[in-house]
Subunit: 211 residues, 2 copies
Amino acid sequence: MDTETVEKPDLAKSKRDRILEAAATVFCQDGYTGASIDAVATKAGVSRQTIYNHVGDKDGLFKEVVAALTDKSAAKFMLLMEEFPEKPDNVEAELTAFSARFLNHLTQDKTSRWLLRLAENESGRYPELFTVWREYGSGRKRSLVAAHLSQLALNGHLEIDDSTLAARQYLALLTAEWRAEFQLGRFPSEDECTGMAQRAVKTFLRAFGRR
Amino acid sequence: MDTETVEKPDLAKSKRDRILEAAATVFCQDGYTGASIDAVATKAGVSRQTIYNHVGDKDGLFKEVVAALTDKSAAKFMLLMEEFPEKPDNVEAELTAFSARFLNHLTQDKTSRWLLRLAENESGRYPELFTVWREYGSGRKRSLVAAHLSQLALNGHLEIDDSTLAARQYLALLTAEWRAEFQLGRFPSEDECTGMAQRAVKTFLRAFGRR
DNA sequence: TTCAAGTTGGACACTCTTGTCCAATTGGAC
DNA sequence: GTCCAATTGGACAAGAGTGTCCAACTTGAA
C-alpha cells in the first residue's frame, strides 16, 4: 500500500479513522461492557479481524478512542476560547455572545458530548483515564476560563476575588440548563442556547459585575 | 410462612429487601449490562433462583430497584426541605446552613447518589424510567426549591423575577463543586460541604439578595 | 407430626462475546 | 504480470451470562 515500510498514510488511516469513529459511537451508546466489537466492525464497514490488527483488543480500542477524542476536543476548545472577550465595550453583550457560542459548541460537537458521556459512565472502570481527561479536559477548561475572567477583572469589567471559583460558578450557571436538556436526550437549538447564555450571564454579572 | 394467603411480611420482606439493596449496589457499580444476577445473588446472600422467584427477570429486578430507590429518596428529600428557612433573621447564615445540610444529605444518602448515577448512566436504555425519575425527582426538587425561594422573596429577603430560574441557578451553584468531587469518586466531608455552601450562597446572594 | 410455601444449589440449553487462527482475496507498487 | 502487505470472512475454543427445571432442604404453622 505504500512504497516504504513507513506506515500507511491514506487508505489505512482512513480505515483506522472509520474504526475509531464507529467505536466512539458504539461505546457512548452502549457503554464499555455493552459495546461489542462486532457492532463496531459492522458500523465501520470493516471486518472484525481488522480491528484486532489495528488496536490489539477491546481495551486498546477503548483507550485509543478516548485518546483521539480528547485530543480533538481539546483542540477545538482552545480555538473557541480565543473568542473570549478581552477588552469589551459592552461586557454583558459580549460575554453573552461568547457564552452562546460556548453552548452551541457543546451541542454541535459530537466529540465533546461523547467524551462527556464516556467520562461520566466509564469513570469507574478506568479511573486513570478519567483523571487524565478531567485534568486535561474539564480542569484545563476551567483554568483557561479563570485566566480570562481575571483579565476582565484587571481591566475593570468585573469584581472578582477568587477567579477559579468564579470560573467554576460561571460554568455551572452557564451549563445548568444545557445539562438538563442534554440528559433528557434533547439538543438545544441555537436560539435556546442564546437564551440560556443570556440568563446565565445576567445572573453572573449581578454577582460579579462592576457595581 | 403466613397463616392466610395474604403475603409474607417478615422473613420474605427482609429477603426481598436484601435483594433490592444488593441489586442497587451492583447496578450502580457495573451498569445494567455489566451487572450479573449471580453477583447480586452472592452479594445478597441468596440463591439465584430466589431472585427469579421474586422479580421475574433482570428487567423486572432493575425496575423494582429504581422504583424502590426513587420512593426512598423522595421521602428523605421532602423531610430535608422542611428545614428550608422561612422567616430568617439572617438570610445568608440560615440559607448557608440549609445548603450545607443539603450537600451533606447528597453525600451521605447512598440512595440518592445511586439514583443519580443510575439515571445518568441508564437514561439511554430506559428513557421512560428516566423521565419519571426526572419529573418526580429532579424536577420536583427544583419546583420545591423555587416555591421556597419565592416565599423568601415575598418576605423581602430576596429579589427574584423568575423563581424557577433562580432555583435552577441556586442548585447549579450549590452542587457545582460537589459534583466535581463526586465524579472523582471523592465524598466531601462535612466541613468541605460547609465551605461549598458558603461560597455558593455568597454568590447567589450577590445576584439575588436585597440591595 | 405433617403440611406447604419458600428456598436452595446444581444441571442444563441457549445466546452472545472475545480473541485466535488461517486460507483466500484484494489492490497498489514495481 | 508479480509481489507484498492489508484485508476479509469463516471457523473455532473458551468463557460468561440468562433463564428454566427440578429434586432436596428448611421452617413455621396447624
